[in-house]
Point group: C2
Chain length 548, copies 2
């Protein structure tokens, strides 16, 4: 029988607004009262709950920290009958070192009973914690109603494997102090492999230390970072006995008098996770900015079709406006396919041909062109007139323009800056072209929402006669494979070639990726669904010559 | 008499290309031979010289590190008769911790004699060193030809003041080992106060430890980061006895048998430093990308006039193409002033009115507008048609478009995304509007290069009839003052109000800054000349509600 703790504990998996202290505090207090109503003795909130995660450089403002402290004081008033663990920055009282700690506050009986600081401060990929925080050098259990708790913050439990990132492992120290359980408060962002990694890690740790764990993760999305929640409870054998939902707030009270069987978590396909994350991330972006409506250009191709379908799911079809912007190079089937899609999605569409403005612009420019031969400038001009129209409608109607570029394009620079690279949010910029097809198939799993023809025709930018993506790029299956090795796995050219890829193709693709860093510097935020997305998690020089 | 070291030492203040190992290695070897010719016994190169600084996420590629190691091996072959101190990443042999160190290699007699790792890893503003490097825990002098050297890397000497950033001060440890001198190899980027801060720090340290110092900084620009060089030699009394030039490569050998008088450095006005840095940064951007020509739109206003003048200085007038893009709202004086400027600068200009394309675009869009009243959409449409034309010419001619937005505009979002916010490089995006006027006056110090009328008329975007910047913004002197407190000094609203500013104005401006983060996310790289520029040194949430 599992009796790891003779109290009820609540996990409050919540979604916060960065810097909105009133909103966050109210939400936290409300969950405290729910936990009290459920006769809980302890309620656990995620990392940096009072200010939202990641607060980034707002942490440099004294005023911001003061407001965090006020929020803690306010929350403490509601802790007379229940213990509360909540995350907030703390001021470092020592002069040397960074001015702040990333802390977990243990509140009880109306007061701050203990503050535990984070030891392992992730500073890689999208994380910048050493930018703000000093690491903890003290490791002591907290004791709540006689129970000894190893209280940790997110990364604190992640120092495992044969090449650990840190020289100290907090649980090695804490486990020697005879704890009854581990609590971890987290703000761990989603990628399509992350939930599995988290559960494996938690199981491993519980088994290693023979301790149960309460793992409370945040949810919501903060611009490009999607937090999936999926908080878990594990017993001391490393069996996951409960998991909270994904992409959703939830307060859950676990009765520690009851023995739970191991949870049989169904294996969810990565493409379903990606789908759900994108829908959630988009909805969150609109909600948090107080926008209701989206606009996007429909080309008749698969990328914009998938984004349109995701937008309908996220915002409702009545909040999505599609614009067809055909040129003389647009094929009939493109227009037909796009209109067919709008009908199937039940979204409004306008058709605004770009030909006249294109021709007039060209006439105005031709006297100043050094050569009149149709080329890149003319291709880009079309893409930019489309953006011109879309942005005018966006400004006029207050709709956010959705960017529809995929990760393969973004990688090799197959897109027009200030043209199809425009938008408030890039929905599928972290989804390779081959995955975009998978997404389309997933969207079509029950009914043909995206017209079949869009999935079967050859991809084309339709910026010149009879253009095909394959004219200038390798087949996407090959391209995406090489890109994955380079971007996600940080393999260099020789390593990739050794896997059997053609040397010339590898060199050409890697050069394209590096040379187009300047374009990616100016793209909208990209919803992150992989372990390595373009954006703040991948920081490359623009001016440089590596592999060039 | 100052005899701090009985050998000649050379400082090689060089400009590297990130990841171009062949170029960098060749340059380093060439300076070694110059130093040998000058009978030097030791030559010192800047931080991470073999790969260039900052290499950013290229450091995550094993291949990149391997190439750094090969470069070191190659350089070592040239050190039989001279000691060499050169910067490169080193692989951390311990499994726990980050995989790399940021190191100074001491090469001599054809071999690696010692490797010193950096202890203080800057992780704030534009710096991300903990992202890549483990800090050193060992602190030992190196000994070259009997002389004991406290070898430090950039930030290692910066842990001073009443609130130091780090809990360890390497020079406190090293100074106890009886060194003869301090050597510091740096990659310290420019801002208009930085040289003075550096010299004050070096003087302070030399005086504190009663040791002379050789401080070798890098030069060149890496996209937005400008490295000014200005390497110095200080005696043990903290007297600066030599300084290398700014914004320029230089190999200098100091004869340590000779007593040098204290250098009287003339005080250079910040605006001159900013001017020289912008010219250098722009030239470097073009050189390193192998581009020769720039294009920019001239409005007749001060921002584009200043950028045009700087571009002529950086690239030569024959490499600058100006385009006038008047609308019906452009005043006659704007066109006249712009043409006058082109004549004075001796640059080619084209005039392409935007009216026809604007009218045609509007006609196409009107059926889909929910209201036909002239507003923001129509204003932005004009700015975007200008960008459309400029980018078409940029693509056709292979000219890089220069962005002409200033810091005040970028701060409050007074600019059109995909319109006047376009460009390959933002030249004055870290220069407040009031400083742009100072720059213009500095440019005009000898002759009237920028027509006087451009400096005296009221600023206007000319996107609607009789528009003035002051219609929607406070006077720039006030605006810039508030912005400086918020951006450079990280003061919160209450602190700024306490300085005597109107509460309502402060709240409005800070809200504008925060709400326009989404625009700044998509701007070109901004040449950094202040201690806090928009870009990688200021990381703010886009979705958030702090001060909103």
């Amino acid at each position: 029988m599992l009796v790891f703790y003779s109290v009820k504990i609540s996990l409050a998996q919540q979604n916060y607004i960065i810097g909105d202290f009133e909103h966050n505090t109210k939400k936290i207090i409300s969950a405290i009262h729910q936990a009290i109503a459920e006769e809980s003795q302890l309620v656990v909130f995620p990392e940096l709950s009072v200010c939202g995660y990641p607060p980034r450089d707002f942490l440099n403002f004294d005023d911001f920290i003061t407001q965090c402290q006020s929020a803690i004081a306010q929350i403490a008033l509601h802790t007379h009958s229940i213990g509360v663990i909540v995350g907030a920055p703390t001021i470092n009282p020592q002069a040397p070192g960074k001015d702040l700690f990333n802390s977990a506050y243990y509140l009880y009986e109306g007061a701050i009973k203990a503050i535990v600081h984070k030891t392992l401060l992730p500073t890689y990929d999208v994380f910048d914690e050493v930018r703000y925080f000093e690491r903890s050098t003290e490791h002591t259990l907290i004791v709540h109603q006689g129970k000894r708790i190893a209280l940790t913050i997110c990364e604190d439990i992640w120092n495992t494997g044969h090449n650990p990132l840190y020289t100290i492992t907090p649980l090695d120290i804490l486990s020697k102090q005879d704890p009854d359980l581990i609590i971890n408060i987290s703000a761990s962002p989603f990628d399509y492999q992350q939930d599995q990694k988290r559960r494996e890690l938690i199981s491993f740790i519980c088994k290693t230390y023979q301790l149960p764990m309460i793992y409370c993760n945040t949810t919501g999305a903060q611009t490009e970072l999607i937090f999936d929640g999926g908080s878990v409870v594990s017993d001391h054998n490393g069996h996951i006995i409960h998991q909270l939902p994904f992409f959703k707030e939830s307060v859950y009270t676990i009765d520690t008098e009851i023995t739970y069987p191991e949870l049989k978590t169904p294996h969810i396909q990565p493409i379903q996770l990606i789908h759900d994350a994108l829908v959630y991330g988009m909805r969150e972006y609109f909600d948090k900015l107080n926008f209701k409506n989206a606009i996007l250009g429909l080309s008749g191709g698969i990328d914009s079709a998938v984004v349109a379908a995701l937008a309908c799911k996220a915002l409702g079809a009545e909040h999505v406006l599609a614009v067809l912007l055909p040129s003389t190079f647009s094929s009939d089937h493109s227009i037909d396919d796009a209109i067919d899609l709008c009908k199937r999605l039940n979204i409004t569409h306008h058709t605004i041909p770009i030909q006249d403005v294109y021709q007039l612009s060209l006439n105005q420019l031709l006297p100043y062109f050094n050569n009149p031969v149709f080329g890149l400038a003319e291709e880009n001009l079309q893409a930019r007139i489309r953006a011109l129209f879309l942005m005018a409608l966006s400004n006029k109607h207050g709709h956010i323009l959705l960017n529809t570029s995929n990760k393969s394009e973004a990688a090799v620079g197959y897109g027009t800056l200030y043209g199809d690279m425009c938008g408030g949010l890039s929905v599928i910029g972290d989804v390779y072209k081959t995955q975009v097809y998978e997404l389309a198939q997933y969207i079509n799993r029950d009914t043909e929402i995206i017209p079949r023809h869009i999935l079967t025709k050859a991809p084309s930018a339709e910026l010149r006669p009879n253009q095909k993506d394959s004219d200038s790029l390798p087949e996407y299956a090959l391209l995406d494979n090489i890109l994955f090795h380079y971007i996600e796995d940080c393999k260099g050219p020789d390593e990739i070639k050794k896997l059997g890829f053609d040397a010339e193709v590898v060199d050409r693709i890697l050069r394209m990726v590096n040379r187009n860093e300047y374009k990616r510097h100016q793209t909208p935020p990209i919803l992150r669904v992989s372990k390595k997305a373009f954006g703040s998690g991948r920081r490359m020089p623009i001016v440089g010559k590596y592999l060039d």
